[in-house]
């Protein structure tokens, strides 16, 4: 069973009315092509100013009906869990009350559950409607054909065609890319949300095939030739991508992050009822060029314009390929698939938290840019360094709950972040003192005492061992050592 556009909007309106300290509903600046208002909802708890934002988008393709329902249900589930101080389970995937509290008190969670309301209305319209409608409802002048594919209309290598991207409004692909980049009000709303909020992670939820997708879509992704950047490609050509055989660069660090996060999302989905979501780049879905997609666009923004934040853009394809496309797009019972989707999205939200950023910037107003610079420019350049980044990203969420539950630990964490920031700022001259090491190890020991998770204990002891050998060394040497010796894999 699928909700109507007005029912989806009602969920957001009711959440904002019932829980104004938790949820704000916002009408976006661009109404749909047929004049319908389009709403987003922000969920956050606790105080504080600037936060990392996560944006979940659904319903861009009208016929993919399950995802708008899943996204509004997820928000309702999170609100109820937070207010009742209870955990949340989807099948065999569970999150504790503390997990939910951390997510809502450290992030701004944005949803745009029904990005294409006209299209959804048309799918459900009992006279003249079409359940296989995909695009918005633009009347393309001079043609008998309606609709623009909103997921081909973003300003990213726009106008380059492929197996599912066309310049012809009457194309049977149903993937007409529109007259200009962001010609459509519905896709402009995504640009608006990225421009006006600190969106660090984005997911565009589609159906079907059980994929977790990451960039790129216009070309195969490679991590070795940094001269191959999309800003040099010809766009608006209404022709296939040139040069032939082109592969787009992604930094090894970002590629590793995409694969790691996607794998964690897929692992969580598997816990629900055993479904195996496969990791792929967007290009691999049809083994051909897809341009103007939202998930590529949001990730490309910081490359096209260095003054913009980096946003990791993901796309999900929810639900199995049943072999019957009607049942794949619109299963008679979408509930199990929605549970998979909600688990995957919650896993992604959880992965969007950065403990150092939160403790440093949000709680104590410290810029952590120098730490980020060392991570991205030095550690991320080697496989071993990326191993340490991966370890940190793995343990930060369970440990953040412990830290935030104890004010003394929170203050100690902030003191350590401040010290690391100082060392990172002066890294060529600074020495990691014996006191630094002792203080760091004491903090880690305290965390190890309080966690019950064996894997986290092992990771903490790996970090402690490394720290012990770092006293009296200059920061550059310590970083070089991290970049050479990978942390032992945690397989327990």
């Amino acid at each position: 069973m699928y909700r109507t556009v007005s029912q989806l909007e009602s969920v957001m309106g009711i959440l904002a009315a019932f829980f104004p300290d938790l949820c704000s509903r916002v009408e976006l600046p661009n109404r749909s092509i047929q004049g319908r208002p389009i709403y987003a909802l922000r969920m956050r708890a606790g105080g504080g100013g600037a936060r990392r934002g996560v944006l979940l988008v659904g319903g861009m393709h009208a016929r993919e009906l399950m995802n708008p329902d899943a996204i509004v249900e997820l928000m309702l589930d999170l609100a109820l869990s937070y207010l009742n101080e209870t955990g949340r389970s989807y099948g065999g995937a569970s999150w504790s009350a503390l997990d939910v509290k951390i997510m809502l008190e450290t992030l701004d969670i944005w949803i745009l559950p029904c990005a294409n309301p006209d299209g959804r209305e048309f799918v459900m319209q009992q006279v003249g409607g079409d359940r296989m409608w995909r695009q918005n409802r633009r009347d393309n002048p001079g043609t008998p054909c309606d609709g623009v594919d909103l997921n081909r209309n973003s300003d990213f290598v726009w106008g380059v065609t492929g197996p599912a991207t066309s310049c012809n409004p009457c194309s049977s692909t149903r993937s007409y890319l529109g007259p200009t980049p962001f010609s459509e009000p519905e896709s402009k709303n995504i640009e608006y949300l990225c421009d006006t909020h600190n969106i660090k992670v984005f997911a565009d939820v589609h159906s079907f095939s059980e994929f977790v997708l990451y960039p790129w879509g216009h070309a195969p992704t490679q991590t070795t030739d940094s001269t191959k950047v999309f800003t040099g490609l010809a766009t608006g050509t209404c022709a296939p991508l040139t040069p032939a055989g082109y592969k787009e660069y992604m930094t090894p660090r970002d590629f590793s992050r995409y694969r790691t996060v996607s794998q964690r999302v897929a692992d969580r989905i598997r816990q629900v009822r055993g479904r195996n979501y496969v990791l792929k780049s967007v290009f691999e879905v049809y083994n051909g060029t897809t341009t103007g997609s939202c998930s590529d666009y949001v990730y490309s923004r910081h490359i096209a314009n260095a003054s913009r934040n980096k946003t990791y853009g993901f796309a999900f394809e929810t639900g199995p390929n049943t072999g019957d496309n009607l049942l794949s797009f619109q299963p008679t019972d979408p509930e199990p698939i929605k549970r998979d989707a909600k688990a995957g999205l919650l896993a992604l939200i959880q992965q969007s938290i950065c403990a150092i950023d939160f403790i440093g910037t949000s709680l104590f107003g410290l810029s952590v840019q120098s730490i980020r610079t060392i991570r991205d420019r030095m550690l991320a350049n080697t496989e071993a360094g990326r191993g340490w980044i991966d370890l940190f990203e793995r343990v930060q969420f369970p440990l953040l709950g412990i830290v935030l539950s104890d004010r003394t630990l929170t203050k100690e964490a902030a003191t350590l972040v401040r010290r690391v920031k100082t060392l990172a700022t002066q890294h060529k001259k600074a020495i990691v003192s014996k006191e630094d090491v002792e203080r760091g190890i004491a903090f880690l020991n305290e965390l190890a005492k309080r966690t019950t998770d064996k894997k986290v204990k092992i990771d903490i002891s790996t970090v402690s061992r490394f720290l012990k050998g770092s006293g009296g060394q200059d920061v550059e040497k310590v970083i070089a050592k991290l970049g050479k010796s990978k942390p032992a894999p945690n397989k327990k």
Partner: protein
């Protein structure tokens, strides 16, 4: 399925096709030159677990592709029309669901946030 012999189709008026479309796979025959034929098919592609070129095809798509020399294997026909009314949540059912979800929540106080995330 062997490709039927067909006369060259005439341009159809929009809306003149029967009220049906097909789900099927498209296959190259010997007359199709080049390796990139799948990228220029102009069909509504859907993913296929076996890696085949699967699509939702209108009658016009079928005629065109056959004329271009492709072989089509049609798996099922679908009537063109809106989502079945029985799959749409009624307003009554929606109200019952949301009321059930929010029962007793209206004046629920907000939990105490972590000390450091409180507004001061």
């Amino acid at each position: 399925m062997k490709r039927p012999k067909m006369a060259k189709s005439q341009q159809r008026e929009p809306g003149s096709s029967p009220n049906v479309r097909f789900e099927g796979t498209v296959h190259a025959t010997r007359s199709i030159k080049g390796k990139d034929w799948a990228n220029s098919l102009d069909v509504d592609r859907v993913p296929d677990s076996k890696g085949r070129i699967k699509a939702i095809l209108s009658i016009d798509d079928c005629v065109r592709l056959l004329e271009e020399g492709f072989e089509l294997r049609l798996h099922r026909a679908q009537k063109i029309g809106p989502l079945d009314r029985s799959l749409i949540v009624t307003d009554k059912a929606f109200k019952k669901w949301i009321d059930g979800q929010l029962s007793g929540m209206k004046d629920k106080p907000m939990p105490e946030p972590f000390a450091e995330t409180r507004d001061t």
